[in-house]
Symmetry: C2
């Protein structure tokens, strides 16, 4: 359990969004550019046959000192319940990994263009996974009211 | 881009599945036990209000030497097209991160019990995220035929 795991980014996000904000991430396109020293176009072959990709990335600008390991109000909003860091998706989390399903707009060489990525310019990308229907939730989905409210203006 | 990122597992998977297999992951329950030196029950507070959790984990038994950086046939099955490692979800991938949406069965202290986790006993867990409807695919989902076939007996 004490063992650490070392990761190397596979690429970087290029987008016009320069700073983290809470809402309205939706409409803008973002490029994910693979590290060309390690990857060629073969790494993305066939991805265009999927409509969506899950992007795993590192919240590299979230300071290590502010990582939450207990509970807090999402976004500091006291109208919402205080919930554990693993019951919310904010950036100040252990290992600071973001995971977002995006729409695939195009694949061109080692550049993947997506819509709906909530990551800022320069974000290190850890992995890309095609979204398969078989990996979506099995069984009916439910979530608390605060989560619905939080997402209302997110995209 | 050359910079590496160091992660520390937040917990471990406890399950009866001891070895990685291709199919039939579905019915068994698995426990995710948080590292009690770093986390208390507060870290999971409120997670039981969600039906599903996304578990990010490390394919720790996938050897670093077999990591694919180009294209290959999923599961080595030549009936399926040769696609890039980022167009498939297999374990031999850069950074060896798995990401699976599971059904939440219970939360008890620092133990989360789930159904539908395709990870073996002893797997290091990197993160847990509640599944919010707003983070599921926006717009219609489509995928190639091989992905449907691959998932047919997966759960």
């Amino acid at each position: 359990m004490t063992e650490t795991i070392t990761m190397t980014p596979v690429g970087l996000v290029h987008t016009r969004r320069m700073a983290a904000e809470d809402d309205a991430w939706g409409p803008e396109a973002a490029d994910i550019v693979l590290d060309s020293r390690r990857f060629g176009p073969a790494a993305l072959t066939g991805l265009e046959a999927f409509s969506h990709v899950e992007v795993l990335f590192h919240f590299h600008q979230a300071p290590a000192e502010t990582v939450e390991t207990g509970a807090r109000h999402p976004r500091g909003n006291t109208a919402w319940p205080k919930v554990g860091i693993f019951a919310q998706r904010g950036k100040d989390r252990p290992n600071r990994i973001g995971a977002t399903i995006c729409e695939i707009l195009s694949v061109d060489g080692t550049t993947l263009t997506v819509r709906g990525l909530d990551a800022i310019d320069g974000t290190p990308v850890l992995d890309l996974k095609p979204v398969m229907a078989g990996f979506l939730p099995r069984g009916p989905l439910h979530e608390p009211l605060w989560a619905k409210e939080l997402m209302r203006r997110y995209w």
